[in-house]
Amino acid sequence: MLYELIKKLDNKMHFSTVSAHCDIPCKIYDPITAQIATLTMIRMVDLLVELQNKAKLTTEEQAQFTRLVAQKEHHGIKVKEEITVIWGDFIKEPQLIKFPELHSLVHSIMLEASKAKQHINKEIALSLLSKVNRFAEIFWHCKDIETYSAQCPYPPEQSLIYPFLNQ
């Protein structure tokens, strides 16, 4: 009620506007960063499994193992960060009405990304990709942009949701 009262005052007095959250705001949002970070996690799992299958690791391989784990961790955090920024900044009431699954989908991405960080498990990483792809699909539909699914032309050669931009 107090908010509405201030809003009425604002309509008459035109209060100054300040940037609070995103600072600019730049309005540049694209789920592709989260999708590529998820692909990186899958790729890291593939490479880690290759090492896992060896009976003994050389010092070089041990160093490589550490680097792969570190990158998987790093990209897991990136997935979470990229998704939460779009969710917190771009997604608003109209999108939530159109796609009521958004809150639970984002929450499940957070959980699955944590799981993918905790384990060297391709199934979990693929499950994360499917959720992030669904988020990307919703994001583009919110902008009235059609999407299509295609296999990425590089390892780990998984299906990604891309926006169909030549409309």
Binding site: Y3, K7, C22, D23
Partner: protein, 85 residues
């Protein structure tokens, strides 16, 4: 994750902050030469009385990118936030 101050919020700021000491965690309005009118949280005040601010969100401009602001650039101190919901 939602920002602490959601979009379309109103804030009540006081201009007489100069009589009060700006401290870390205070929310202030600043007129930044590059980024315009911003609302920021005070990270720390250095020995030259310059105020270093941080954003309201991890994706905000980092404290080192924003640089320090002096008292003339500080428009006011936020004392109340009115959120939309």
């Amino acid at each position: 994750m939602f920002p602490r101050i959601p979009q379309y919020s109103y804030v009540l700021a006081i201009h007489w902050f100069r009589y009060r000491k700006i401290k870390p965690k205070h929310t202030i309005l600043i007129d930044h030469p590059k980024h315009g009118l911003l609302i920021k949280t005070v990270a720390f005040v250095d020995k030259n009385s310059l105020v270093w601010c941080k954003g309201e969100n991890p994706s905000s401009i980092r404290v080192e990118e924003l640089g320090p602001v002096n008292s003339k650039q500080i428009i006011g101190q936020v004392i109340k936030i009115f959120k939309k919901h």
